[in-house]
């Protein structure tokens, strides 16, 4: 949907004299933020209209071609005329769209650049997701009834306010984690694995995102890990849907898809790791997990979700739910695991979470540790499911017997993490 706008984001600085077309010359710098937002919304609606015109024009062209193919010789000249007329109007539409796109990009709508500019009165430019959804965010003002804060942002703000207040008014609650009471109990449970303790020592220094991902790649060669900026992930999600619809039986196409996304976004792994907001963990042919980080570039996971590998569409994101029951249940359990990891140790939470996610590579092959079967009919849900609950408290005795002999440099091997059916999980793990 993005036009081939040639302008780079160097226009973000807005200090250099703009070389833009005359219309938007003064816009970016002299307009007050509410006016900027209003202009941006108006340009977006215009862009939508132009795109609709282009679609109609394409339909008309196709129709003309069909007519020309059907009719023998009579109306050929008419069809040619029609095609020429359509072609010129399409060209005009495309030019309009390019101009609009340039204006929008300069005003910071299609990237998040305006946020980095100061003096925005608490307003943010509307963000356009690649699937066409416009996310307009207004904090204090309503602009002609068009703006609305997204629920996610509101919740995040509320949570931040709450934790800030908690820190102010209940300082002793904060000390609980590092104090004697709670941590003692936690240590008692974990002491049965000397491995976990030594793993903590090893990871005591807060690791950067790229370090964590590199370690993970070494430990789980099956899994493919990519990082994305948030909008880039939405683009990829819609790419996934188009390839799923075509039902690409061609493994070559799948490779090309992965390769192109890798070369395009793979550099994000190294270069812009400080902007990575979405981690994709793909175990080929088994599952795809999406983890969201907040804030971008940090190592704080705030959501995780599981999907099938050939599932596609705009619901593929860290807060979306899969269409398949098995992955829905895994996601539900993963939410609990995420909360647990965050509570236990905020610094380690991401690497613990990612390792735990990778343990699901045996989702369809590892039998339940309690009933020793793979597929079982869950009576309450009336569904046939494999063991979807994987222990996240890591209270398996097999691990501790391993630690005595092996040097404590490797983390708990994923095969030793026990799996349970929903009805088989003994304690609420």
């Amino acid at each position: 949907m993005m036009p081939q706008a040639q302008q780079t984001t160097s226009a973000v600085g807005a200090l250099a004299a703009p070389q833009d077309p005359l219309e938007s010359a003064g816009d970016a710098t002299t307009e007050a933020p509410p006016k900027q937002v209003a202009l941006a919304m108006e340009r977006l609606t215009r862009a939508a209209r132009v795109i609709a015109d282009i679609r109609l024009g394409a339909d008309r062209l196709l129709e003309a071609l069909f007519m020309a193919a059907d009719a023998r010789d009579q109306s050929n000249s008419k069809a040619v005329e029609f095609i020429l007329k359509e072609e010129s109007s399409m060209r005009q539409h495309f030019q309009d769209l390019r101009a609009l796109g340039r204006q929008l990009e300069d005003s910071g709508v299609l990237n998040g650049s305006l946020k980095s500019r100061g003096n925005s009165w608490g307003l943010h430019m509307p963000l356009v997701c690649p699937d066409g959804a416009v996310v307009a965010y207004a904090w204090k003002r309503q602009l002609a009834g068009q703006a609305g804060a997204s629920a996610v942002d509101r919740t995040r703000l509320a949570l931040k306010a709450f934790t800030d207040q908690k820190r102010r008014f209940f300082p002793h609650l904060d000390d609980e984690v590092s104090g004697d009471g709670e941590i003692g109990i936690a240590k008692k449970r974990l002491n049965s694995q000397g491995l976990i303790m030594s793993q903590r020592e090893e990871l005591r220094e807060k690791k950067s995102l790229s370090d964590i991902l590199k370690d993970l790649e070494h430990e789980f060669p099956n899994a493919r890990i990519f990082t994305y900026q948030r909008l880039d992930w939405l683009k990829r999600a819609s790419l996934l849907s188009s390839s799923a619809i075509e039902n690409s039986s061609d493994p070559l196409k799948e490779q090309i898809l992965n390769h192109s996304s890798n070369t395009r976004f793979g550099s994000v792994n190294v270069a812009a790791a400080d902007q990575a907001a979405v981690i994709e963990l793909l175990v080929p042919s088994v599952f795809r997990a999406v983890v969201s980080l907040h804030p971008a570039g940090s190592t704080n996971p705030d959501a995780v979700s599981f999907f099938a590998t050939d599932e596609g569409g705009n619901h593929i994101h860290a807060r979306g739910l899969s269409v398949h029951h098995v992955f829905r249940h895994v996601t539900e359990h993963a939410d609990k695991a995420l909360q647990y990891f965050v509570c236990v140790d905020n610094n380690l939470s991401l690497s613990l979470l990612l390792r735990w996610i990778c343990s699901h590579q045996t989702l369809f092959s590892k039998t339940c540790s309690k009933c020793d079967r793979l597929l079982v009919m869950d009576k309450s849900l009336a569904l046939l499911l494999p063991p979807v609950h994987r222990a996240y408290q890591e209270t398996t005795t097999t691990v501790s017997s391993q630690t005595e002999s092996t040097p404590p440099t490797k983390a708990a091997h994923p095969d030793h993490i026990s799996a349970y059916h929903i009805g088989c999980s003994a304690d609420d793990c």
Binding site: S249, S285, F364, S365, L384, L385
Partner: protein
């Protein structure tokens, strides 16, 4: 072999609890035989194919969920081809092959959680005799045959247990097929489904003969 058995099998599926009946489905399988060309009628000097050259077990298949595609299978040569549905009209015009037997697989479709089950009977067209009862099982979250092997085996075990309780005459047989022989990959495609139907028919005929 009666439709009552089919009703019992359907009941078995519904007995699983949350199986939602979704509607009817139909897959058609055609067995072709070559038409021997009359040498005197050909005006050109093109070589007349000898009857021995033409394949004997030429199968054509339409799948219920892919009305736009037509599948050709040559079992002895291990070939499978996916073509557009219009190829049938082409075949009619060419008159090089005649449909010897046309079989319909039709029945009901159920959604059981992540499994899609299609239970149906096999009837010959223009004759109402029931040739057999078959079931197609699809596990939706996975597309890799290798990864889903265990799940499918477990499902079959559960299914056989449920069916045995009904004490029906006859039993479900699952024939394993080596897809690699036909040059197909691990990623499941409609071509795999077509092959499985063909194998099913062969199995059916073998059972009937014996």
């Amino acid at each position: 072999m009666s439709s009552q058995i089919l009703a019992e099998v359907c009941q078995c599926v519904e007995g699983f609890g949350s199986a939602a009946k979704e509607g009817r489905w139909r897959t058609t399988l055609t067995i072709y035989r070559p038409v021997a060309r009359d040498p005197s009628s050909t005006a050109t000097s093109a070589p007349v194919p000898m009857p021995g050259d033409l394949p004997r077990d030429f199968l054509g298949l339409t799948l219920h969920d892919r009305p736009g595609a037509y599948f050709f299978i040559l079992r002895h040569h291990r070939l499978i081809l996916q073509a557009d549905a219009n190829v049938q009209s082409l075949m009619d015009k060419l008159q090089s092959y005649k449909a010897r037997v046309v079989l319909h697989f039709e029945g009901f479709q159920y959604q059981l959680g992540d499994f899609m089950l299609r239970v149906g009977k096999c009837v010959q067209s223009h004759a109402d005799t029931l040739r057999g009862i078959m079931m197609e099982v699809e596990y939706l979250p996975l597309s890799s045959i290798d990864k889903s092997r265990q799940i499918m085996e477990d499902f079959l075990d559960i299914w056989q247990d449920a069916v045995i309780k009904k004490s029906l005459p006859g039993q479900f047989i699952n024939v394993e097929l080596n897809f690699a022989d036909y040059g197909l990959q691990d990623q499941y495609t409609p071509q795999h489904t077509a092959l499985q139907y063909a194998t099913c028919i062969v199995q059916l005929m073998a059972t009937v003969r014996s």
